[in-house]
Point group: C2
Chain length 207, copies 2
DNA sequence: CGTCGATCTTTCCACTGTCAAGATATTCTT
DNA sequence: AAGAATATCTTGACAGTGGAAAGATCGACG
């Protein structure tokens, strides 16, 4: 007889998920600096200490949200990969564009996951989610190289080169120091800009 | 008869500078998230509302600190430039290394200036300081190209390429997702690593 | 010497996260 | 099926935060 109406039950039933959902909304509306545990609780219609039982403290909720964030990041990258021309090179570019899609569509979440107070705990599900995101990129680099890039120093440098480029673009856009084209067909222009940025390089050969 | 002793004068005399100094210390100790206006005031030995008259509100103090931060960033980049082999290419690499020096020596400040809630106001001294930092990098790129890179789209892309690379490295290190070598002669290893990262690239030619 | 404005303090408010203790519902044991 | 143990959620308190308002003190300028 568990009524589907949201009548005032003492026990929520699915509070953990509800808090995470509300937390995501709160995050995107107020940003990471303006994030408030009490507001999230109020949003769900629950007392301000209710989240504690599920997440420990505020940092615990942040970590749980970050885990979702990393998954969303992976989704964004994979979505672009699938839409891309199926060349190793194109898939790598697409991966970077997915990274940027995520940053632009969930800026606060982007800032959250890359601004955690401390690196994810060893063996935590958060760490696993972060690693999953990293592997998505590493695989794309590996497909282009034809070998696991993590096995030799040169390959690792290449993975980091791709990552830092995409990350730098994303972070500086969110900071407001890089302006994006916003003309008529802004989306196409952005894609072209991102493609240029992700591909262009200045290597010793250029000297 | 202005005694040099720090006796309890009602008027501080140089409160603005004192608050900025204390703010920098507080920032480096507690980080941007744990930054507290009241603690800064207490540190100077002044009431918690005293800063308001000089900086407006907390955001005003943050902006003033950010201005210092950008100046420090410029200092770091120029210091490396001067120590570098005087080749346009080497000076550009050095500029990037200076960027990273700043991020590593003042991580909280780095996070502060690139995580401002809103982009610096038009015409503000903060904006001027930020622009000065950007120009330091743009000049280094221009010296290598032999022309002002800001005049044509290709040049702008190159500047942004250098900037985003250096920024991505810095931010991901501070996030804890990129580990730094910390062996015996860690400093030399780091420099080598940074040099690799700043120089390595994956351009369309590589495909 | 007196007035005025700048500087700093005191007091209060709404808001934050966390803790301790109590209320309620669910599940487990017998 | 009944009672006990446990999980879940609420209430109330606390120290901390930034900001507003009003008062105290000082410096400068007539």
């Amino acid at each position: 007889m568990t009524g589907h109406t949201k009548s005032k039950r003492y026990h929520h039933g699915d509070l953990r998920r509800a808090i995470l959902d509300a937390g995501e909304e709160e995050l995107s509306e107020r940003g990471v600096a303006g994030f408030s545990l009490r507001r999230v609780a109020a949003r769900v219609g629950v007392s301000h200490t209710a989240p504690a039982h599920h997440f420990g403290d505020a940092a615990g909720l942040i970590d749980a949200l970050a885990e979702r964030g990393f998954r969303s990041l992976v989704d964004c990258m994979e979505a672009r990969q699938e839409r891309a021309i199926q060349t190793a090179y194109e898939r790598l570019i697409a991966t970077g564009q997915g990274y940027l899609d995520f940053a632009l569509s969930e800026p606060a979440m982007f800032r959250l996951i890359f601004g955690l107070d401390q690196t994810p705990a060893e063996g935590s599900s958060l760490q696993a989610a972060a690693l999953s995101a990293f592997m998505t990129l590493a695989r794309a680099v590996g497909d282009l190289r034809g070998a696991d890039p993590m096995l030799d120093p040169e390959g690792r440098i290449e993975v980091l080169a791709c990552w830092t480029r995409a990350h730098g673009i994303a972070d500086l856009i969110l900071s407001g120091y890089i302006e994006l084209p916003d003309g008529e067909n802004a989306e196409a222009e952005r894609d072209a800009f991102f493609r240029n940025m992700l591909a262009v390089n200045l290597s010793p050969r250029d000297v």
